[in-house]
Amino acid sequence: MENSFDALVDEEQFDFEYTPHEEKMLLNFGPSHPATHGTLRLVMELDGEVITKVTPELGYLHHGFEKLGEYRSYNQVVTITDRMNYVSPLNNNFSYILAVEKLFGIEVTERAKYFRILLAELSRINDHLVCIGTQGVDLGAYTPFLYLWKERENIYQMFEIISGTRLTVSYARIGGVPRDRDNIPPVFFQKLDKFLATFEDTLDEVERLLTRNKIWLNRTKDVGVISKEDVLQYGLTGPVARASGVEWDIRQAEPYSLYDTVDFEIPVGEVGDVYDRYLVRMEEMRQSTHIIKQALEKMPEGEMNVDPDTKVMLPKKEDVYNSIEGLIHQFEIIMTNRGPRAGKGEAYVPTESPNGELSYYVISNGGNGPYRFRVRPPSFYNYQILPKILEGRLLSDTVAVLSSLNIIAGELDR
């Protein structure tokens, strides 16, 4: 394979005729650019400042996640899943583990279900903070970025207490949570209370800076309007769909993991422009804090993981060291090419991630890992609408629209 440095913009491929006296120009909004959230590439045909055609190019972060998942066991795949949507990794983990638990036919304890809700909502807050912070930086508002990222540090500390890492948390196993981490230290709850006490004030401060700001309104109102018909045609989900007036949230339509016992409202927009998506995300963060408070109250005491006798969960450490059955049981789960095996079948559990509907289609062939590991990536389908809504707009609207769709390149390219 030739390594040619000049083959990046191939004019024949993009169907572009260069005529010297016309005014059209081909601009490469390249993969390495400050305003592309990750490695995206847009090849734009411009007529002055007005965009006439946009062709997105993907694949700059394609690493074969789906193929890699077929060569790992069920619990090892959890570590792969949180490198996809790396700003809200816990949502990925739980979404995958729900599909696998459905295949195995296992029901986790109530404490684990409420704890999963709590962590998933914290992760959702994390994602929206990144989206709004980077949206501000792209459009010139640097201060909200600093305020919001300081809140992210508080959330990172909480993740570090329960799992040891800040970003790639991998806090899900079949049957609950990792065996050595099922006792939550009280310091986690202290930090959580402190976070909940001050978070809404930070959100109010950011709202004061942005929501009625003349420059923000000028750059985001009526920019990148998505209609309801587009939502059904293109399969858009999440805040992008809700801002266009489609009132649909999987947590209420098809509840999983005891979401039907907490109540919260779904913010729905009217117009479907960038401003509406920003407002929907801000309101979703407030609803998430509401859900976290309810989950904290409702969480019962007791065991977090399922009983080890179901043969999917590692046994307690005392049993491993003091009894033969415990030792054999531990080896049967951990050693290479062993591990819990499901029967033949397939499972698909739709969940609501901060970007939209994220779900894993897991097919099992009776082995110790998935036979086919398919991710339904919300960013992939949300990104498809970009050429349609950018036609006829100005070049600087590209940045506003791209940051409002919240495209995470890891999930887009897998």
């Binding site: 390594n3 459905k102 399969g235 499972a347 498809q384 897998r414």
Partner: protein
């Protein structure tokens, strides 16, 4: 819920009796395996029929059944959702090895465009009537289709094949 699912399966069976290969309703999910010949008509029926109304397109993917044994080697799986009746369905269209072609559903849902390009990229299944069928995730001069079961995980040498930039020729 089971009556609702039976409604779906019965209506599809009545409308296309000879296209259906298998119906399975495990774990609360309905999956219908069909032949690939009339896939556009089947999906249009599911989308527009008043009792079914599966108007939201959720996902499209490919599966290679080489080691597992299905009706044919490849399958294209469509996941659909009905906003009005709040139910889901999965349609699997089987594609034989050696003649990997199937009709494109871009005329029904515009969002299937890139998903079909990805199935072409990963499995080599061509979609007839697709407006722009070329590779989307792998580089354009990549040969081979990665997600097929006979493609090795470590690849066939593309990842070592680059110019080495050292400090001498670093400008």
């Amino acid at each position: 819920m089971t009556e609702a699912k039976n409604v779906v399966v019965d209506r599809v069976k009545n409308a296309f009796p000879d296209q259906i290969l298998d119906v399975s309703e495990n774990l609360g999910e309905t999956a219908i395996s069909v032949k690939r010949d009339k896939i556009v008509d089947i999906l249009r029926f599911l989308k527009e029929d008043n009792e079914l109304k599966f108007d939201m397109f959720i996902d499209l993917c490919g599966v290679d059944y080489l080691e597992m044994g299905g009706f044919e080697r490849f399958a294209v799986v469509y996941q659909l959702y009905s906003m009005e009746y709040n139910r889901r369905i999965r349609i699997k269209a089987f594609v034989p090895e050696g003649d990997e072609k199937i009709d494109s559903v871009v005329s029904l849902w515009a969002g299937a465009n890139w998903a079909e390009r990805e199935v072409f990229d990963m499995f080599g299944i061509t979609f007839t009537n697709h407006p722009d069928l070329r590779r989307i995730l792998c580089p354009d001069n990549f040969e081979g289709h990665p997600l097929k079961k006979d493609f090795p995980l470590e690849g066939i040498g593309y990842r070592e094949n680059f110019l080495k930039v050292t400090r001498e020729n670093a400008q």
